[in-house]
Symmetry: C2
Subunit: 476 residues, 2 copies
């Protein structure tokens, strides 16, 4: 037996950023490369992404959307057609200036998002109300020239889906904007076990070119918020800039009303920072690449490996099942699959075989259970359901614990300091107050929640008449 040292990670409380870096690399999710700010998504990380992608893709198709694929490059003149949009994205795009040895007559940007390409296409294919709605989605890589990067959270290139739809009326587009935000909330809460706050972005924080932006915001273990998915009502601004017209039911020429919405590999960062602990990753069963990992005990003894492989065969139909029959010792293996956040470890040794049983150990609580062979599927299924629910409940509790109310700036600062997390506070609606809060506290407006509470009568910043309750937080 080869001696293997247990990998160790920095404690969360000691250095959360280092804890995160340790987890993503030591759990084999990513590796770095010589390409600045880009990451290699390793097999374990990519299998996790495939599960998330497939769940989301299923919901996107169920709600009537079709997948398409648009070009990677956007000619500069096309990007410039919608003025707010180009102003928002120009500072952070990568430019292709040469093809082979030739300099290009017009430079091409590597798509940071694909609104303008969809608009150009929609102009070609939409003519009548009969062509509407157009409900398209694309899975793609996009590039934004970020200065500071961290795996999953902020990278030069990332993977995402971007939905782009066109509708007859503003109301139809509004319905779509809400519908897709709900799909994102379902993915986060029901699959990733990450509770979210749903709401609208302020004017300052909305998407470049949008009428308004809806968002789902989640809260990490360190009290920072993470924007986890956004859905934009684009109004008819792009339609006017691109001339996307249709003949309506009365034969009148109208502009279409559009939406766009996106969710990215960033949600893996949310999953890690919401559920992870000092032993590593904790992955919710619904998206876990491996739901149960079989670790044979005293595997050199007769019958153990046969028994373990028999279980693997038997369980694989119903659960994503792994087995580690390598010659590393069980202690190393326990540590490794805890680090990788596998929801359940199944131990099977000579004494278990004798008693016709196995031991199930849950990752979230460390609790051990005995299951006899005839009840193993049933108990395992129930355990996975319970783990999924427990992760959500724990995260929900944390979100509530880390949410404070502030009525004035003194309270705001004190509470953000003593209990880092989300601050609910009233806002007058003025940009100056929003800017001032950021400047003085480091917290930004995360959203104006759909579920409003009147926590005070006056703006937390200026004391003026309050317009709405805003959730504020420091954010990734």
């Amino acid at each position: 037996m080869e001696k293997e040292f247990v990998k160790s990670i920095t404690a969360m409380d000691k250095d959360f950023a280092q804890w995160y870096t340790d987890v993503v690399t030591k759990a084999d999710l990513v590796d770095y490369s010589s390409v600045r700010g880009s990451m290699i998504i390793r097999p374990y990380g990519y299998a996790l992404w495939e599960n998330i992608r497939d769940a989301l893709d299923g919901m996107i198709k169920e709600t009537g959307h079709e997948n398409v694929y648009m070009p990677l490059f956007i000619p500069e003149s096309l990007l410039e057609k919608e003025k707010d949009h180009i102003a928002g994205f120009a500072p952070e795009v990568a430019w292709v200036t040469h093809g082979g040895s030739e300099e290009l007559a017009e430079r091409l940007c590597v798509r940071p998002t694909s609104e303008v390409l969809f608009c150009e296409h929609y102009k070609n294919i939409i003519h009548s109300y009969r062509d509407l709605p157009k409900l398209y989605n694309q899975w793609a890589n996009v590039v934004r020239w970020e200065k500071t990067t961290r795996p999953f959270l902020r990278t030069l290139e990332f993977l995402w889906q971007e939905g782009h739809t066109a509708h007859e009326t503003d109301e139809d587009a509004h319905e779509e904007t809400k519908r897709m935000l709900d799909v994102y909330a379902t993915l986060l809460e029901d699959y990733l076990a990450v509770p979210v706050v749903k709401g609208q972005k302020t004017e300052k924080e909305k998407f470049a070119g949008a009428k308004f932006t809806y968002t789902v915001e989640s809260l990490m273990h360190d009290g920072k918020a993470l924007q986890s998915g956004t859905s934009h009502h684009l109004g008819d601004g792009f339609a006017k800039a691109f001339g996307i017209n249709y003949l309506d039911r009365e034969g009148k020429l109208q502009h279409v009303h559009q939406t766009s919405w996106g969710m990215t590999t960033r949600v893996i960062g949310a999953l890690i920072m919401v559920h992870g602990d000092d032993r590593g990753l904790v992955i919710p069963p619904k998206v876990a690449p491996t739901q149960v990992m079989i670790v044979p005990i005293a595997q050199h003894k007769e019958g153990v490996l046969d028994f373990a492989y028999g279980l693997k065969e038997r369980l694989s139909g119903a659960f994503r099942t792994g087995i580690d029959a390598s010659d590393k010792n069980p202690g190393w293996k326990f540590n490794e699959y805890e680090m990788k956040g596998v929801p359940v470890r199944l131990e099977a040794g000579p004494r278990d075989i004798e008693k016709n049983q196995v031991v199930l150990v849950r990752r979230d609580t460390g609790e051990k259970l005995i299951a006899t062979l005839d009840e193993v599927e049933e108990k395992l299924g129930a355990l996975l359901t319970d783990i999924q629910q427990n992760l959500f409940d724990r995260a929900k509790e944390l979100l509530e614990k880390k949410t404070s109310v502030a009525e004035n700036m003194e309270q705001f600062k004190e509470r953000l300091e003593s209990n880092p997390g989300m601050i609910k506070a009233m806002w007058c609606g003025k940009r100056e107050c929003e800017d001032k809060i950021k400047e003085e506290t480091g917290a930004t407006s995360r959203c104006i929640p759909f579920e409003q509470e009147k926590v005070s009568d006056t703006c937390v910043c200026c004391g003026g008449k309050a317009e709405s309750m805003v959730v504020w937080a420091k954010a990734y």
Copy 2:
């Protein structure tokens, strides 16, 4: 009822290139954009790609490979590490020189293929024979700066998978090279119903940096060949350039042996040009986005639409089933779904309902069948199997009909002229003869087939001693 004009396409025999363009655009597979040489893959085209991708991804995973994701950009210095490789790709890459408003210190190429990124990563993660083999695959977009482009066949950007593996021995890598070529052959023959010739590329035609390249070549309706998938034995050239070493079972430091293999959206071009006819696309049932399209007849009559929707509901569990209940007339619909290559049309009108039956019309032969309601699943299933087989048989027959033997250059030219297609001819192995054949006939060496036949004793070009039989053809 709105009047709709039937879309028409150019006849194949009249202008094959125009026929192809008509089919890809009028069957709604692609659209053009203002991005030169790139295509928009529309919902119908993308659904076809998803089916092909999922079938191939399943086989790639079954053979033990794992999916990963590598960065889009490659620093110039990294691309330059393997000399043959950079020489092959430098003339056709796109260069990013600016990020936002800053000029980059080192320019980045948009990946034309990812060997060097995998090599850099393998150097990091491979240390011992215990780490081998590494069997990785990636689904991605790549860019090659092509001058002349055509949808699917040759585009600036295309979608593909690229496998990259590392092994202990040259033999292991050789086995892998063969295994993945067989996977490609299976995908083409069993799913796309496209028969292939398997063989090895000549030195001239092999991949830049490879020891040798295996290929599957298929033959289009117009007698031109299409390289449909390649599998490269990379030897240890990249390992030496990148320093990818491992401690072998005897504790000695060794270079790994590598392979890479790729298949692209190009195979959609093969499918179109092998099976299509003057009425449009013909899609093999196994990858068809819609396998059966229900067209209600006299749908304004009572009960017809209910009946048709009932069938849709009933058949959807077992078959990818569509329904067109729009107010376009049945003639338009027949034409539309023939154009789109849907394998089976199901007609249901008042008289069919009365008789408890439906009419099934196959796209490949136009043959009509009556199926009573209690046998519709069974007959439909058998029909789809039969269509799949018939498409392959027809294509195989065409391939054989369009394959000639030539013993000298006069025969070569005459046969290529009178029966455009593949020419089997002996070759001495010299580059000069290969070049001369291309210059005089326009045909290139497609491969040295694994199944050799001695069609003559001497080289078709120089009359020298023949080394092997080569298949030659004009190619896309």
